[in-house]
């Protein structure tokens, strides 16, 4: 396993929410797979603490952005599958545009044009 503690970035509560929503955009899946997906897609930089994953999933379900049901996994075992709801889709779009604006703002300050940059 590629676990590099120093390069792991801590995830704040709000960021985990939007990552889960984005993961589910591709299709319904269960909790374990969501965590693995985030880890893989971020090239191992983002490691999801299982201790925060399930409470986050519960919270999102309470808000009505994801819905859940028990299904049989591809291994034949019972697992709880989560999927995005239309409201969740809207929330994802909102959050995503907020993040893009945020990172653009950060970029503008950290790499200012017109100043001597590296």
């Amino acid at each position: 396993m590629n676990r590099n503690p120093t390069s792991r970035i801590e995830l704040l509560q709000g960021t985990l929410d939007v990552l889960i929503l984005r993961t589910l955009l591709a299709g319904p899946t269960h909790g374990h797979a969501i965590a693995k997906h985030i880890q893989r897609t971020s090239e191992d930089l983002l490691q999801v603490e299982t201790g925060s994953l399930y409470p986050a999933l519960h919270r999102l379900e309470a808000q009505g952005w994801i819905a859940a049901s028990w299904e049989l996994s591809d291994k034949g075992k019972r697992a709880r599958y989560y999927r995005l709801t239309p409201r969740g889709r809207k929330q994802l779009a909102t959050e995503q545009s907020k993040w893009e604006a945020f990172s653009r703002a950060m970029g503008l300050i950290l790499n200012p044009a017109g100043e001597e940059g590296r």
């Binding site: 396993m1 269960h30 909790g31 374990h32 797979a33 603490e49 299982t50 201790g51 399930y54 409470p55 519960h58 919270r59 309470a62 996994s73 291994k75 075992k77 019972r78 697992a79 709880r80």
Partner: protein, 896 residues
């Protein structure tokens, strides 16, 4: 959504467990796939997961509504605590249940009688047309103000601008024959406009209409629901049938719904007044007026409207040729219209509010007792509370849980209290004034229950607040160190409890002073000479001979005479007579002015109005009314129509200075009437109850010329017969009376059979009721106060056991110790008395309207009550003081 998750938290938790398990399985599977051995894989997966319990707890917490969670915990905790201390629980619950129950019972009466609107549609538009005539001297001795005459009804009805509908009514009785045995029923006679004003539709049939008021038209009648059920079995075909009322057939046109009353009057029949307009004069002021205001019209406007119509009335009618209609201007007739509800409730509101106040005070005293109990408990639980504070409970949490406990206690007490209230309500109605208005409407309705809940919650908060404030504070260290085993006890701890006991004593003093004043009032009332003697052995009954049964007045009198003779012949009867009414019966006697022949009156001067009564020979003797000078009438004088009268003592003194001087003088009703000679002077009689002064009275015979206006001979047809006998009120006696009356005329029902004592007691009902209520409240307050002081001293003794031991060891005498504790009890009571006296003085002023013969500052009461309390305090502290004195010093010091 939150709520559904809340109630299925357990299920969610199980699912989470399953979900975490499946997560572990998948992770383990992956680990195995990447080459680990099975249990190593599982261990790695476990490590990766972290703390499963934490995850489950986090989610469980998200599903909880924390407020409900703590509430549930506190409630369970509180119930457990109560079960552990059953004696406390029972005492506190009972005290609270009695307090809340009594208050609920009284409130239900106050609510139904005073607060609820009347049961007529849009009852706020209904008013009673009252009038006063301050210029008519003497009128103030009688009833309330000036009633309406029929001519006034026509004038007001036709010329008003303020009312939608208007009418007059009067209560009466009538004889119904032909159905079962002859029965005297209660009637309300109404003019047109009364039923439309009240707007209550009939249960079946229709209202009396304007056509039914035609004196020459067909005679109609309406029934009450109760009468319809009783006599017709609720048969709808009663409509259209005839019944014989006062020997005349009347057609039934409708039945009013159940519970319907005309203002306060309960009735069996409604009859039309059917005034003959052509024969009306200005006078005849005997009817009550009722009206419904037009929307948007206020009482002041209505008053102005009626005032405008009074001159119109004087112009439209006359009292006969040669009379001046405008003489009524001297009477200064003024309308004082008031809402119908006030009319219904009358003066009973004073009594009810006093009762409510006293029961409220008793509740406060009971609360003080329970608070003291809670304080003792909290003191004993200091250790537990301090521990909770030490492991992290905030002050608010501890206070919250203490408040929940006291709320639980008081709500449980409230539930018990409602059950007690049902019983209490019955008791109240049984001992209450029999003529309590709206009696049929009293019930425990939702508003009363809301009151109970509110009262319980307020009580709970109040009770819990003091212990909560005292014992949730940051004195943990002291408590944990080991429950205060210092040789002296912190004085501050006792301050709250002392204050409570002092407050109890003060409130008990107020109640006992109130009860004392009522006792003295009652005594004063009973010593007033009412004008008759030995009321218990004076049997009364009412008999009414309508003119449709016997037309000639003289025959009416002879029939009455015959009845009286038959009664006098019965064994055990010592005297019989009859009169138009007996004192305090409440039927309205007539009144008019009296002119004396030997006095001069200036032009247009009207002398003051006097009460006119009609009596038979022998009635004064039968009633035990003293004849101060002269003699009674004789039958011979009555039949020969000799113009002789008796007058009352106060009238004799007013006109001629002394009773003996009145004999032989002549008086008459007004100009043109013959002069009547005064042959006797009668003692003053309290016609309107012992609280009112005796009116100046003229006693006419029951058969006389000009009885109902100049010209014809008339006889009083509705009379009260009085018979003095040792056997009064026994069943056999009453049967014999019935037989005697029917042997004279089988069509005469005997009604209102009661003794003079019943009538007298009924007139005192308001006072005796208040007395009983205050007496009960005062007794409860005294008992609670004694318990309070006893508890306080007891507690002090148990707390100071070691100190007592030391004192005894150092040589203190037992009597010294006893005295010490009795003294502390006396000090508490003394301070309570000192605080209570000014409070009592201030509050008793509110009761002034209920007192008679004594002032609100009656010295005897104010001296006696503190003495009673002091004695009670000594008694209450003596027992624990004795216990203190019998403490074994060795045992006491051993516990150190």
């Amino acid at each position: 959504m939150r709520w559904s998750r809340y109630f299925r938290r357990a299920k969610w938790d199980r699912e989470r467990l399953e979900e975490i398990e499946s997560h572990l399985e998948i992770e383990t599977g992956e680990n195995v796939a990447s080459g680990m051995e099975h249990h190593q894989a599982r261990a790695a997966a476990r490590r990766d997961l972290g703390n499963a319990s934490l995850i489950r707890e986090a989610i469980y917490d998200m599903n909880t509504i924390s407020f409900l969670g703590t509430l549930g915990r506190d409630l369970r905790h509180g119930l457990r605590a109560l079960r552990r201390d059953p004696v406390f629980a029972v005492v506190a619950l009972l005290t609270l249940a009695i307090g809340i129950g009594a208050n609920t019972a009284v409130f239900s009466v106050v609510n139904s009688v005073l607060l609820k609107p009347l049961r007529y549609p849009k009852a706020e538009e209904l008013v009673a047309l009252r009038q006063v005539a301050p210029g008519a001297a003497g009128l103030a001795s009688f009833a309330e103000g000036l009633r309406l005459s029929p001519s006034m009804y026509f004038t007001y009805g036709e010329h008003n601008r303020a009312f939608q509908s208007l009418g007059v009514w009067i209560t009466g009785t009538a004889n119904v024959t032909g159905l079962a045995e002859p029965e005297q029923v209660r009637t309300v006679d109404v003019s047109d406009g009364v039923l439309p004003a009240l707007l209550v539709p009939p249960a079946i049939g229709r209202w009396l209409s304007a056509a039914d008021q035609d004196p020459r038209g067909p005679e109609r009648v309406m029934l009450s629901y109760g009468y319809w059920q009783r006599r017709f079995g609720g048969d709808p075909s009663a409509i259209g049938r005839n019944i014989r009322v006062d020997s005349r057939p009347r057609e039934i046109v409708g039945v009013m719904p159940q519970g319907f009353r005309i203002v306060n009057a309960d009735f069996d029949l409604i009859m039309p007044l059917a005034f003959d307009r052509g024969k009306l004069i200005l006078a005849g002021f005997g009817f009550q007026g009722i009206a419904r205001l037009k929307p948007g019209v206020g009482i002041q406007q209505a008053d102005a409207d009626v005032a405008r119509m009074i001159p119109v009335w004087m112009d439209s009618w006359s009292n006969g040729p040669g009379t001046n209609p405008h003489f009524y201007e001297t009477w200064k007739i003024t309308p004082v219209i008031r809402p119908l509800k006030q009319e219904v409730v009358g003066s009973v509101s004073d009594v009810l509010w006093v009762v409510m106040g006293t029961i409220g005070l008793v509740m406060l005293i009971a609360c003080a007792n329970v608070t003291n109990l809670l304080l003792v408990r909290a003191e004993a639980r200091q250790h537990e509370l301090a521990l909770r504070a030490a492991i992290g409970a905030g002050r608010a949490r501890i206070m919250g849980s203490l408040l929940v406990e006291s709320l639980l206690l008081s709500l449980m007490g409230g539930v018990l209290g409602v059950a007690l209230a049902y019983g209490g309500q019955r008791l109240l109605l049984a001992i209450g004034p029999g003529n309590l208005p709206r009696l049929n409407e009293i019930s425990i309705d939702p508003r009363t229950l809301a009151f109970t809940v509110l009262l319980s919650m307020l009580t709970g908060l109040l009770l819990g607040l003091i212990p909560a404030l005292k014992y949730s504070g940051p004195k943990i260290a002291i408590a944990l160190r080991g429950a205060g085993r210092t040789s002296g006890v912190s004085r501050e701890r006792h301050r709250a409890r002392n204050l409570l006991v002092v407050a109890q004593v003060a409130m008990a003093l107020v109640l006992l002073v109130g009860a004392g004043l009522m006792i003295r009032t009652f005594q004063a009332m009973r010593t007033v000479d009412p004008g008759f003697t030995d009321a218990r052995r004076l049997q009364t009954m009412r008999i009414s001979i309508p003119d449709s049964l016997v037309a000639e007045p003289e025959r009416v009198t002879r029939i009455q005479n015959e009845i009286v003779d038959k009664l006098a012949a019965m064994p055990g009867v010592s005297a019989v007579g009859f009169a138009n009414e007996m004192p305090m019966e409440g039927f309205e006697s007539a009144w008019d002015a009296i002119y004396a022949q030997d006095k001069t009156y200036s032009d247009g001067e009207i002398p003051p109005l006097r009460l006119y009564k009609n009596i038979s020979p022998g009635s004064l003797r039968a009633a035990g009314t003293r004849i101060i000078a002269g003699r009674e009438l004789t039958w011979q004088e009555v039949y020969s129509q000799r113009p002789v009268v008796l007058i009352s003592d106060n009238l004799a003194r007013e006109l001629w200075g002394a009773p003996s001087a009145a004999l032989g003088k002549r008086i008459r009703e007004f100009e043109g009437m013959p002069w009547w000679e005064v042959i006797g002077v009668v003692q003053d009689v309290r016609e309107n109850g012992v609280q009112a002064k005796a009116p100046e009275t003229v006693y006419w015979p029951t058969m006389m010329k000009d009885l109902y206006g100049p010209g014809s001979l008339g006889a009083v047809r509705s009379v009260t017969i009085v018979a003095r006998s040792q056997r009064a009120a026994t069943e056999a006696f009453l049967k014999e009376i019935q037989q005697a009356v029917w042997s004279v005329n089988a069509n005469l029902p005997v009604a209102s059979v009661r003794t003079m004592e019943d009538i007298y007691d009924a007139s005192l009902a308001r006072t005796s009721f208040t007395l009983v209520m205050l007496g009960i409240a005062g007794a409860m307050a005294l008992v609670l106060g004694i318990i309070g002081i006893y508890g306080m001293i007891s507690y002090a003794v148990s707390q100071r056991t070691s100190e007592i031991g030391i004192r005894l060891a150092l040589g203190a005498q037992q009597t010294q110790l006893r005295r010490m504790f009795v003294r502390s009890g006396l000090i508490l009571a003394g301070i309570g008395v000192l605080i209570g006296l000014p409070a009592a003085i201030a509050l008793m002023r509110l009761m002034k309207s209920l007192l008679f013969g004594i002032s609100a500052l009656d010295p005897i009461t104010y001296a006696a009550v503190p003495m009673i309390l002091v004695v009670a305090a000594v008694l209450a502290s003596y027992l624990p003081a004795r216990r203190a004195a019998s403490v074994d010093p060795v045992d006491a010091l051993k516990a150190e």
